[in-house]
Symmetry: C2
Subunit: 158 residues, 2 copies
């Protein structure tokens, strides 16, 4: 079991509930995006940091797995674990849980650091690199169940 | 090149643009969710159909790849291709393009048919099955570039 860093908490708003009577799939993506915004604050890439470093993060890819329904008002918490990173990229794992610690969804994201001056990928500023280094990491053989899997219908005779 | 079925069109709304000056990652997920809602209308699972059949669709998994930025006002179109399906599941490919046919993002989704009576997976109603069968399909060896790939940082010496 990996330690994760909880960076976002909230509740399922009434406007997030769809015709199926549960939190809409796109609102899960919104919550995972909010968690990455909270991560940016944590690594000093809030608005002031983005301005200071002329630097931001772009999302390249996001794999969301929907594991349980969330209903109106339910407390939510999103916590983050770093699966991998290099000088410009972070491969993130985000867990969304309710207040009974039930896993509602996971999001696996590839994030790219970008220079606002060149609008091209660029290495993380030093302070950002340091902040990332101090976050929880999982080595490859400890990656969480369900991470880095292919999507597809598995048939019993295959 | 596979034929796809365009089911949703729109424009990038001003409220979808974030601090990076482009359409926010979660709004791409919203558009892909809208495309699946349009698919539900197409296969007679709009509100009346859901009520009639006591049946709906849940999203199990969604892999989004962000390929190009979209800016305020840009025209968008989402088109759908079926990669695989069985009696209860559809493995979808959704392409989001601008009006110059540039691919902005792709979404690969696993969708599960659900009985509203049992709240359990259940086979598609006959009319839904027929409508799905008449949509564009790609056989496995024709799956689009970028579909069904693992997420991760690829290093040059690996």
């Amino acid at each position: 079991m990996n330690e994760t860093l909880t960076l976002w908490t909230g509740n399922v708003l009434s406007e997030w509930v769809d015709y199926n009577g549960h939190m809409n799939d796109a609102e899960y993506a919104r919550v995972f995006s909010n968690a990455v915004d909270a991560l940016m604050e944590h690594i000093e890439l809030d608005e002031a940091g983005r301005q200071h470093h002329q630097y931001t993060l772009f999302t390249l890819e996001n794999h969301i797995k929907y594991l349980a329904e969330a209903h109106q008002g339910a407390p939510l918490q999103a916590s983050i674990l770093i699966l991998d990173r290099d000088a410009k990229r972070v491969h993130l794992w985000v867990e969304l849980k309710d207040d009974s610690n039930q896993l509602l969804a996971t999001s696996e994201q590839m994030i790219m650091g970008m220079s606002n001056e060149t609008r091209r990928p660029a290495p993380f500023p030093l302070i950002v690199e340091e902040k990332l280094a101090n976050m929880p990491h999982a080595s490859f053989n400890q990656w969480p169940k369900g991470s880095n899997t292919l999507i597809g219908i598995r048939r019993k005779n295959q």
